[in-house]
């Protein structure tokens, strides 16, 4: 079946702009996660959704970052007033109910000029 999809695959923006990154999880997966991966590092946890609610947003670096999942399926990660330090690959993952395995999408590479 279809895996996790993320759009766009690449996003180039200017410092100070607003961006939205979209994640479409695997059908039937109730849990959704966002991670950020900087060059040469492993992914770092940002936020976890169980259904529509953000169960844990402790990894969001500051209040410029926000994520929603209004209908319990697609999620959008929103970054306001982007900074060069936000440049990274943003990864989304999803899990089926009662499973600890996370299935990752291909990521969105964000470049802030």
């Amino acid at each position: 079946g279809a895996g996790v999809s993320q759009t766009p695959s690449n996003k180039v923006t200017e410092k100070g702009k607003y961006v939205e990154l979209r994640c479409d999880p695997i059908s039937g997966h109730t849990a959704l996660y966002w991670y950020r991966q900087s060059l040469g590092q492993g992914p770092e946890f940002l936020i976890y959704f169980q259904g529509t609610g953000a169960a844990d947003d402790s990894g969001l670096p500051n209040d410029r970052f926000f994520a929603v999942r209004p209908e319990g399926s697609v999620s959008t990660l929103k970054i306001q007033r982007t900074e060069r330090g936000d440049s990274a690959v943003y990864l989304c993952a999803s899990s089926p109910p009662v499973s600890d395995t996370q299935y990752f999408g291909p990521g969105t590479r964000l470049t802030v000029l």
Partner: protein
Amino acid sequence: SQQGEEDPQALSIQEGENATMNCSYKTSINNLQWYRQNSGRGLVHLILIRSNEREKHSGRLRVTLDTSKKSSSLLITASRAADTASYFCATDAGGGGSNYKLTFGKGTLLTVNP
């Protein structure tokens, strides 16, 4: 802060040889997972081992877990050029903590030469 750390940072072998990568972590866990990443993009889940398991196999992969030493190893047997990738271990927050919040190490870059 990083929970898991892979060792070595880079490994280069010939096709057909075995590759062993190690992971050490600091706090108790419920599960430890290994992922593969090609070209810095999406991660592919390889195997999950629970804290009460010591060894697990999947095809050419063998994972061991030693909770007393807080370490795990990933063995890839009879390597192929297509195994060239970065390999990450990921741990959750054990001891009653969350299973969902994975912490990744920096990864081991494996190069398999034809």
